[in-house]
Point group: C2
Chain length 114, copies 2
């Protein structure tokens, strides 16, 4: 890590972009194929439409996903990963694998996240 200037710490920078509690989940859901807004909402029901919108906008702004809007009726909007965010997929897979231990050990159990 960079102990001199935390503003230049790459991990801090990365966390600014993917540190949101939903973003890794969104990215991993997009890994296999593009998804529509409603699909993502179904996949992550605890994520409200409003928050999903903001997270997608931030990810788009930061070039981690691209937004593809099709002029159909009803409208269709797809989100897909960029090359750069695809590099994150194995990282989240490792995290996911690590997370299995939490389930086994029931570390979480009753916690109210929400």
């Amino acid at each position: 890590m960079n102990e001199k200037n935390h503003e230049n710490c790459p991990l801090t920078q990365a966390l600014l972009v993917i540190g949101g509690k939903w973003k890794p989940l969104i990215i991993s859901h997009l890994q296999k194929s593009p998804k529509r807004f409603g699909q993502l909402h179904t996949l992550i029901p605890k994520l409200s439409r409003k928050v999903l919108t903001s997270q997608l906008q931030e990810l788009t702004r930061d070039k981690l996903i691209t937004r593809h809007s099709y002029a159909e009726t009803p409208p269709r909007v797809e989100y897909r990963l960029t090359e750069k965010s695809k590099e994150l997929v194995p990282i989240f897979q490792s995290m996911s694998k690590w997370g299995m231990y939490l389930i086994d050990k029931k570390i979480i159990e009753e916690r109210e996240d929400n």
Copy 2:
């Protein structure tokens, strides 16, 4: 009980534990050697003492760090990683490496973090 199957998603579980925006940073700083409360506060000055306290308590509760208190005057308290959280270190290193591209490309630039 309830069958919210996303609760069984290992990535979701992992994010519950390390998804806080400071926790990966704290864990990375502890990777080489144990650190004292004050050291961590110096290393991450933007993290207030109160929030640092809460983050350390949560990490301790979730068995990602251990707290070692020495009966000295002035008191000394050290935090160190557990075996399980040491497995996270390479993951955060990958994230850190990935984060360098953000700095290069100046993706972040002006953003109201704080």
